[in-house]
Amino acid sequence: MTNSRIRIASVLAIAALVAGACSSSGATTAPSGPATKIVATAPADQLVKAGVLTVCSDTSYAPQESLDPNNNAIGSDIDLANGIAMRMGLTLSVKSTVFDTIIPALTGNSCDIIVSAQTITAERQQTVDMIPYFAAGQSFVVAKGNPKNIKTLDDLCGQNVAAEKGTVEADHITGGASGYDATTSLTGMCAAKGKGAVTLKQFDKDTDALLALQSGNVVAHFTDEPVAGFEVTQAPDKFEAVPAMTLERAPEGISVTKNHTGLRDAVKTTLQSMMDDGSYTTILTKWGVQSGGITSTAAAS
């Protein structure tokens, strides 16, 4: 190859790498609104990057967190995180993270907090501190017209159900974690009635689990109630909800690494102030998930 062609090729390769590396890759800095009063501050040594609240979030979970066509994070959780960041005098940066490995990402110092619709479980609280910020039930989504006639939990026995990897829904089907054992899991309950087990099909992204329903590989998609509701409103010709089968409203928490007590207390204070002054409810209403609102960040006993 002549020298000039090598040069052109290397310039093109570098240009491509620049174009790609400059991508925001899901990270977004919050637009600066009117100056918000700073309610609490976090110690700088407990932040990954000074002046920035880095949030890990699994952005496949609309309406709580998802990506818009430009790969910017949007959603009720994102707006809540933004509110918390502003009241701490920080800018927001969201890292799209795979849900299955989101806690190792937090403890490995890739981010400061997790705001990703994580249900508070005893297991998770062994590794991280969780601040209650929302409550959601677990719901099923089925194909339009409910062709497999899923009306009760027993109808799921012997069938395939899709859920996202690492979620309480996945554990609820199989048992063995998140407080579900052989008697309280869906599979266990089917076995106790002498019916076939519920087979869990799990996926790295919640949107993939929904696509499994769309392609007919599973009879139901098991996910959080707000997400299920959103999925049905987005595509009412494809999916429908089964409201009678909604289970267990449980608190969801913001995760903070265990020894970052200063950060944890700052987040708790700012979140409580948002609940007190009404901005919390405004955000939830904007995204249609106000039914999951709670009034206090005190941990449920």
Binding site: I14, T59, A62, P69, T207, D208, L211
Partner: protein
């Protein structure tokens, strides 16, 4: 020159194409098939900034990882042929580990496994004005190291294909090992290395899609996210496949050109000149016979 499609392509080939298109046309007429074709056409002809970003990442990561792979492969190949047992052992161990484990496992282990145990967390680096995210850095390096293990064998085959008389002549002229490698052996080995190297880069372009597991927003992840958001997975994934096909086809043309340049003046290269570029690239010959020339 109104040659009909049949006479140019050949009847059998036209029938084959027709058989492939027929089910798609029939599916489009079926009432249970719902398509949203604007997603497909838009992502091909009016790609969003996210798709352009994904494209840039895919190409950029492939190029850098392949370069890392070639460099590591050359060192590993020379290590495997070294006189000292330590170098042979080190090179052999490297090739064994990275060829013996799946790339997906390597990616998730070195990105999530190490940080979860608190052993190592990949940093983001800043090169001038560019901010390279930690997962992009990690993905590129891990893919490069993985590629090096495969390139080691390819480079070793290339080096062994060079007539040993060349090394002997170089030695008798008093050239050091390094000088011999750089000036005599490797340039001649390049002719044998380039075709499989081209193949490896073709693979690399496609294997970058595995980086979805470490949350890099390369081409596949971008399309998969769009499909998840709009439920139009058929349209977006078909468009995604076509984008990859475009990348690998462009590379195929480039690779063919490089091989032709390298083969100039060597024995047997004249045989290729009787066929058209299309025939040489795809190994087909159309029914109207050799086109001749380039």
């Amino acid at each position: 020159m109104a040659e009909s499609l049949f006479s140019r392509l050949g009847t059998r080939r036209a029938l084959l194409v027709g058989c492939l298109l027929l089910p798609i046309l029939l599916a489009g007429c079926s009432s249970s098939v719902t398509l949203q074709p604007h997603y497909f056409w838009d992502s091909l002809f009016h790609p969003s900034p996210a798709i352009i970003n994904g494209l840039g990442l895919t190409i950029g990561i492939s190029v850098v990882a392949q370069i890392i792979g070639v460099i590591l492969g050359i060192f590993a190949a020379m290590g495997k042929m070294a006189k000292r047992r330590l170098f042979r052992w080190l090179a052999g161990f490297y090739v064994w580990i990275f060829r013996g484990t799946p790339l997906l496992v390597q990616l998730t282990f070195f990105v999530f496994g190490l940080s979860a145990a608190g052993i190592f967390k990949w940093p983001g680096i800043v090169i001038g004005p560019i901010d390279i995210l930690p997962e992009i850095l990690a993905g590129t390096i891990i893919m490069g190291v993985n590629e090096g293990a495969y390139m080691a064998e390819i480079v070793r085959a290339g080096i062994m294909a060079v007539d040993p008389g060349q090394t002997e002549a170089a030695k008798s002229l008093g050239m050091t090992y390094g000088l011999t490698m750089r000036r005599i052996v490797l340039p001649q080995a390049a002719r044998v290395i380039i075709p499989p190297l081209g193949n490896e880069f073709n693979n690399m372009l496609k294997t970058t899609s595995l980086l979805v597991a470490v949350s890099v927003f390369e081409l596949y992840n971008t399309f998969s996210t769009a499909a998840g958001r709009t439920y139009a997975s058929f349209e977006f994934l078909a468009a995604c496949a076509l984008w990859y096909l475009l990348l690998t086809t462009i590379w195929g043309f480039f690779q063919a050109w490089v091989e032709r340049r390298l083969a100039r003046g060597t024995a047997g290269s004249a045989d290729y000149n009787g066929y058209s570029l299309r025939a040489r690239l795809w190994g087909l010959r159309n029914n109207s016979g050799n086109q001749g020339g380039r």
